[in-house]
């Protein structure tokens, strides 16, 4: 899974049937201190995350399809957690 910050929202009215009615969040990838690292991805929201929140994103298809109990869904990225904070010990 990866850490990110919800930087926006995407609305696709015309879409593959799986995506209809689902909330798509634009998540910027960050390091554990939530500094953006340059990448982004669009993920389906499964936890009710909102703009500006730090989130945990599952970026693997089989796990994502399991979340939605939908074995044929063309989905790979899902917001599966809202992060309070992360500690790095070194």
């Amino acid at each position: 899974m990866i850490l990110g910050r919800v930087a926006g929202e995407v609305v696709t009215t015309i879409a593959h049937p799986f995506y209809r009615g689902r909330t798509l969040l634009l998540v910027e990838r960050t390091d554990p201190s939530f500094t953006p690292t340059g990448g982004y991805l669009i993920a389906v929201d499964a936890v009710g995350a909102g703009l500006g929140q730090h989130v945990l994103v599952l970026d693997e298809g089989n796990g994502a399809r399991q979340v939605f109990a939908s074995p044929d869904a063309p989905v790979r990225s899902v917001v599966v957690g809202i992060v309070d904070h992360a500690n790095v010990h070194r």
Binding site: A7, G8, E9, V10, V11, T12, T13, I14, A15, H16, F18, Y19, L24, L26, E28, R29, P36, G38, G39, Y40, L41, I42, A43, L51, G61, D72, A73, P74, V75, R76, S77
Partner: protein, 95 residues
């Protein structure tokens, strides 16, 4: 999924069985600033509604194949949505 801009169409003369009838579009990927980045790719349009100039969401790999019917056709990128509204304060991009 990532964001891309449709910049053209591909008209195939011959395609493998499962790809017959699927529109093939040229997609320019966008980066985290909303700017064009990386190589243009050819994606099958699972919505059958996208066209040049449209901002789209696309999926790659196995998920791209799952977007088409029948599943597991030989495709590595597929358009799965047409963006009609985008709220992304940090980036300069609009549908």
């Amino acid at each position: 999924m990532l964001l891309g801009r449709v910049i053209g169409t591909v008209v195939p003369a011959v395609v493998y069985e499962g790809l017959k009838g699927w529109p093939l579009l040229l997609v320019q990927p966008l980066d985290a600033g909303g700017l064009s980045a990386g190589r243009t790719l050819v994606a099958a349009d699972a919505t059958r509604m996208a066209g040049p100039g449209d901002l789209v969401t696309y999926e790659g790999g196995r998920e791209a194949a799952l977007a088409l019917e029948p599943n597991f056709v030989p495709v590595d990128h597929a358009i799965v949505g047409l963006v009609d509204h985008l709220h992304w304060p940090r980036a300069e991009v609009s549908p």
